[in-house]
């Protein structure tokens, strides 16, 4: 029977099919997990659970921990000043030592955001299952992996058994085509995914695995693909996937944990089978016209509340659906915006470039290209936070740090940083940011902070002009 990519990966990991019917209802399937990424925030209670039950970590060799959410991004050689954050990080270190889990701690050359670290080491591979106690685990789907976020009880379950009981997801294809397979100048994969979420809504992908396809997707780099899959969760989907192809194989070849020698050839042969069959049926299909896409920004307090940068702040009175109207009214009040205002006139206080969405080397290069030879506008602070130490060192080798600091931006060390403000990198109440991160929820970047989600290109142009802008506004 014809199968989608997601169904093929599922079937490859089926330890046991759930029994159907009976008084307990349909059992879930039991799925094997190839890679379990761990960080300090969602794991302490899981390790506690293991200790209480006297259970070991079944496969420490398929588990990897990094410190990312709490870590400061400056003065990183000093102890963490917030005692509660420090305790959480120290708890991870103790747990990893006790249970034999490999860990990349602060200041280690491989430390960074889990979703940047896995791919750059070559651990994230096509056709694998990847989980982490973090919803942006969907990032790894860019390699044709089935990757999704889990809660702490599930973290404990995977630590103990290397499996998860799961119910099959429905499948949705999202096809992005353009006449020649490219996007307009200044349009990035971030704009593509923001446009997708605006179209299908924050609940539109609920219960589905999304598969992104079409000529626009095929022409994207691996890092650009990761940005799209990363934000699948913002459309309500636990996972997003892209079929692996030569771009994927070229990215992986030679990486530390990628197969070598004959195993490489064997792997590539297997990976080439990982695509949806031509006659496979999806439960839902969405089409996106890549030729019409322009730089996209959010105006509200969920990632579905976005519009092209050339538009105006919407008027809630024009919204027919009552729920959406009430939600828009609340969003505008929180965001301090007036209906009808051109988005290009929205002035920001802070620009944040970083996160698991847009904290990779290509993102930093794109932002640096725009800001090179220009300066950050008066009254605006710009933070550039690489997604990992590797990204940081590579950027420094390329001189990108000098480009940013010469423009007046702050160059920091690796971590989640202002994406969620668990460390000191936060917005003050009422402060407004253009941010390359993934969530514009109320208070996400600091209590009372206001977030506009943007691409790295828009972030850099906004830093220069002080209002939401794209690079073409600088010409």
């Amino acid at each position: 029977m014809a199968r989608t990519l997601a169904e093929k990966v599922w079937d490859l990991h089926l330890v046991r099919s759930g029994k159907k019917g009976g008084q307990s209802g349909d059992e879930p399937d039991l799925l094997y997990i190839d890679l379990h990424l761990v960080h300090e925030v969602t794991s302490p209670q899981a390790f506690d659970g293991l200790r209480l039950a006297g259970r070991p970590v079944r496969r420490p060799d398929l588990t990897l921990a990094t410190e990312d959410h709490n870590v400061p991004t400056k003065d990183v050689e000093l102890p963490i000043s917030d005692p509660v954050s420090r305790t959480q990080v120290e708890t991870l270190r103790r747990n990893c030592a006790e249970f034999g889990v490999p860990l990349y701690p602060m200041n280690h050359a491989e430390q960074g955001i889990v979703h940047v670290v896995g791919p750059q080491l070559g651990l994230t591979q096509p056709g694998t299952t990847v989980v982490c106690g973090d919803s942006h685990t969907s990032t790894h789907g860019a390699f044709g992996a089935m990757a999704f976020g889990i809660g702490t009880s599930e973290v404990e379950h995977v630590l103990a058994t290397q499996t998860l009981p799961l119910r099959r997801f429905k499948t949705m294809s999202i096809t992005v085509n353009s006449a020649d397979g490219t996007l307009r100048p200044g349009v990035t994969s971030k704009d593509v995914v923001l446009a997708i979420i605006a179209q299908i809504g924050t609940g539109g992908g609920q219960g589905y695995v999304l598969e992104y396809r079409g000529n626009v997707i095929e022409n994207l780099s691996m890092e650009a693909r990761m940005t799209i899959c990363n934000m699948s969760i913002e459309a309500g989907a636990r996972a997003g996937m892209i079929a692996p192809d030569d771009t994927t194989f070229a990215y992986l070849q030679g990486r530390d944990r990628a197969p070598k020698g004959t195993q490489w050839d064997e792997a590539v042969a297997a990976w080439r089978e990982l695509r949806s069959d031509d006659d496979a049926v999806f439960d839902a299909e969405v089409q996106i016209d890549g030729d019409t896409l322009t730089p996209f920004v959010t105006w509200g307090t969920n990632p579905g509340q976005g519009l092209p940068l050339g538009e105006r702040v919407p008027d809630p009175a024009q919204i027919v659906d009552e729920n959406a109207r009430v939600s828009a009214e609340k969003a505008l009040t929180y965001m301090g915006l007036t209906a009808g205002m051109p988005l290009r006139e929205v002035a920001v206080d802070t620009v944040f470039v970083g996160s698991c969405t847009n904290g990779r080397i290509e993102d930093l290069r794109a932002a640096a290209d725009v800001i090179k030879g220009r300066t950050v506008a008066d009254g605006v602070r710009m933070l550039v936070v690489p997604g990992s130490m590797r990204v940081r060192f590579q950027a420094e080798d390329e001189g990108l740090d000098d480009v940013f600091t010469a423009a007046g931006a702050e160059w920091r060390s690796a971590g989640c940083s202002m994406c969620l403000g668990m460390n000191p990198d936060q917005l003050a109440p009422g402060e407004r940011a253009a941010s390359t991160s993934n969530r514009n929820f109320e208070g996400r970047q600091g209590k009372g902070g206001r977030t506009h989600l943007v691409s790295p290109l828009v972030a850099a142009a906004t830093a220069v002009r002080g209002t939401l802008s794209s690079p073409e506004d600088l010409l």
Binding site: S24, G25, Q125, T161, Q206
Partner: protein
């Protein structure tokens, strides 16, 4: 996990859709290394507002939250479920839950009851007109009852059975450990390791 069959408690109307996990508990409150004590972070931004429902008698003693659609979107933090439970909630009612939140609820023993939006509206009106009205949620019958209103709710049969029995997932999986070992023996050698 404690078994769940029925629960009766004061209903709390939360007229908001898209209540994301950063609203339920902001990231700065996620730094504890225990499963308890998260109630201080529950809806922390909104609780500064005296008119917020949980700042009002008798809703501050509520244990059944009746929320708008797409409850629990965003992050995978199970702390959102713990914060609700630490505060005293045993049931959340909504017309649609985010997947990860619903899964986390089932693991931690919070009942996420899916009720059709028109019925949610009826419950909201009832709770607003008669503050302090108790809601009884019956997991065996899959019903929500308040005053003379009784409406059905949806939950998958397997989760319902696990909650009714109070079963631990890890224990259930370990019954199949031989299957896991057999699967591991057949995994290709080329797959990556972290050590």
């Amino acid at each position: 996990m404690d078994a769940f069959s029925t629960h009766t408690g004061i209903g709390v109307p939360l007229r908001r859709s898209n209540v994301d996990t950063d609203q339920i508990i902001p990231a700065v409150y996620l730094k504890r290394v225990t499963r308890t004590g998260f109630e201080d972070g529950l809806f922390s931004a909104w609780r500064n507002d005296p008119s917020f429902v949980l700042n009002q008698e008798p809703f501050d003693r509520g244990s059944v939250l009746v929320a708008g659609s797409d409850f629990g979107t965003g992050s995978s933090r199970e702390h959102a479920v713990w914060a609700l439970m630490n505060y005293g909630f045993r049931v959340v009612i909504s017309s649609r839950f985010a997947d990860i939140f619903r899964g986390n609820s089932a693991k931690a023993g919070l009942l996420a009851a899916e009720v059709a939006q028109p019925d949610v509206e009826l419950l909201w009106k009832l709770l607003e007109n008669q503050p302090g009205t108790e809601i009884t949620v019956d997991l065996t019958e899959k019903t929500v009852q308040a005053a003379d209103l009784t409406v059905p709710f949806e939950i998958d049969d397997y989760t319902r059975w696990r909650l009714l029995e109070g079963l631990d997932d890890i224990g259930l999986t370990l019954r199949h450990e031989a299957d896991v070992t057999a699967f591991e023996a057949a995994r290709p050698a080329r797959l990556p390791v972290t050590t």
